[in-house]
Point group: C2
Chain length 422, copies 2
Amino acid sequence: MSRSNSKDQELRDRAAVVIPGGMYGHQSVGLVPDGYPQFFSKAEGARLWDADGQVYIDYMCAYGPNLLGYTHPGVNAAYVRQLEIGDTMTGPAGVMVDLAEQFVSMVSHADWAMFCKNGTDATSMAMVIARAHTGRKTIILAKGAYHGSAPWCTPRPAGITPQDRANQIYCDYNDIASLEAAVAQAGDDLAAVFAAPFKHDAFVDQALPDPAYARRARELCDQTGALLVVDDVRAGFRIARDCSWSVVGVKPDLSTWGKCIANGHPISALLGADKARAAASKIYVTGSYWYQAAPMAAAVETLRILRDSDYLERLVSLGNRLRNGLAERAGAAGFSMRQTGPVQMPLFLFDEDPDLRKGFAWSSAMLERGIYVHPWHNMFLCAAMTEADIDQTLAAAEGAFKHLAGVAPTLGPVEKLAAFFH
Amino acid sequence: MSRSNSKDQELRDRAAVVIPGGMYGHQSVGLVPDGYPQFFSKAEGARLWDADGQVYIDYMCAYGPNLLGYTHPGVNAAYVRQLEIGDTMTGPAGVMVDLAEQFVSMVSHADWAMFCKNGTDATSMAMVIARAHTGRKTIILAKGAYHGSAPWCTPRPAGITPQDRANQIYCDYNDIASLEAAVAQAGDDLAAVFAAPFKHDAFVDQALPDPAYARRARELCDQTGALLVVDDVRAGFRIARDCSWSVVGVKPDLSTWGKCIANGHPISALLGADKARAAASKIYVTGSYWYQAAPMAAAVETLRILRDSDYLERLVSLGNRLRNGLAERAGAAGFSMRQTGPVQMPLFLFDEDPDLRKGFAWSSAMLERGIYVHPWHNMFLCAAMTEADIDQTLAAAEGAFKHLAGVAPTLGPVEKLAAFFH
């Protein structure tokens, strides 16, 4: 097996001239194994082609947006149909109301919806609405949780001021005592408690939500008058056909959505309960493309498919097949891998691999075998995957584990992760 | 003449249930005259159809994005072609590099480009990069200038904390002494000076940039090491085929773009000089849809048309025809109207109309006659407009001025503007 990368390299060379660092944000290849492609030429169903034409079963799904399969004919047809009628106009089209009605009908805590473009737009709006609702400033966040890349929440400190992070208190996810201490510290200034639907931080094991933690967050918000915000941008609709905390029986006041709600077309959303409606109508938020009709038409079609198909049950079934098959093959090759989080959003971390050298080598070996996995970020299954795709993945994994067994004793530290582990 | 609004009203009634305030942001009809439609059903070229099927020549152009004409066949074909190959994927397509190269080749101050979704994304990135570049915090903004709707810049105070507005100093646009005083006040902490390409604030006369002011801003940034940022989101490519301050001979370090750069498809951009490249590569900014290939393909085609056509000269010619024709007809009806800003981005304010009652009545009369104008926000011409469209507009204006002459003595204050003028 030998992959070519001449077209990818040519694009990287050109990008290095006209894009800072050659690429930026979560799709930079700066922290994935050498040899991972930076540029892609085609996507269809569960598969992705790199710039040099090599095909992969893609377990990143565009970092989430691909839920029903890339280039989905029905969703794309809905987009194009609306595009030909009118998209970005001087006001919204009626489909905005259709979408708000359908979204609210699916998400049990929600009475209203606002649409925007980035997940960060939705989380920022949630923060501002909570402050407008309560007249207070402090928000509680879990350490290490990602809520976007605006100055108040971006994970990298360059260019960020202390004032950007004022009025924030951090707690530990799933740790009730830590949450209670944060609430106590906020005193009479608590505006909101933010929560990821489960712990899906990078580089560490994922964790499902402890129902007692979720219930306590709800109680503390009720007692203080603060708003409870579930940030479902990443996990939304991969856990439930409702807000992801519906599975633990807790209703937030606000929930944030994005990524897959139009199967990759550009739209995100903030959903809220009546309690927060007045505050939501007082804030000023907007964007040039927020009223685009075509992504709304695509979202309406996506939501229809989610309601009418067994996509979610299939994701769980495929995810279990993958998890069980990988555990078996890892064990047979003498490895132990921690597979954490929901099976439909898995993360793989090797035991006895503190600096990820095994994870990097195994992921690279998977890539060589036509499977795109990520060594430290949660992955995503999509409904276009089949049992045959999972079995192809498991066959590749068997080869990758064997390869790893051969090279493991000689692996050195991963140079590009030096900043994280040294 | 009598317009129907039953379908618009039905949509408004439904929206009131599932969208806070029935609508939000700049496309809310909360502050335009009663009777303006909220929802639209179709857009093509220079024309827009409301939900009840009535057609208007649209001088808002979606608040800017419509530069070449709504539903532009060439630009939309480029979008759909890329959409069918791959759009939101696990990494960017090569078209991202093509677009960065072409954008940089057109904008004379720029050596690199980053793409995002909202204008606010671009202005926020400019602020963070300036702080990362200088290691300082203070930014200077002009009073009343709009740079987006994030907590640091949104024009409405609900939900905003004092810390969100920390490290900001305000000056008066085009006032050199005021700018110098702001720079002095910033002391050794100046990170950036933000400037609109011309003064295009709502509710007040627009003003072209004083070249001496622009040059002084450049000098002060050079002396202090701060970055000069021109926010071209609204005006970009309607003033020049380059940054809008190229017409006054001043090159910023960073410029922000959006709205029309893909003729309404969702993409915005930050362009920068080499000086700021290292800082730009240090910050962490991203979004789920920022690497979408289809809007980039649409932008490549839009930029090609801008380079290869006389769109800009036509906008100016049509704008002059409109301005001269309106002045003549206003005068003939006994009115005096201030038409400010570049002719291709006009604003009309009546003399002796401090609370806009005349402006509202005249705009409503224009709408009744099939012309969509805005009573207090700058408007936009698009390249799909023809001389016949301008002449149709002028004929409508003649009728609207006559109507205004009849009703002017009986006009009362505009109730929905009470918060602004009382």
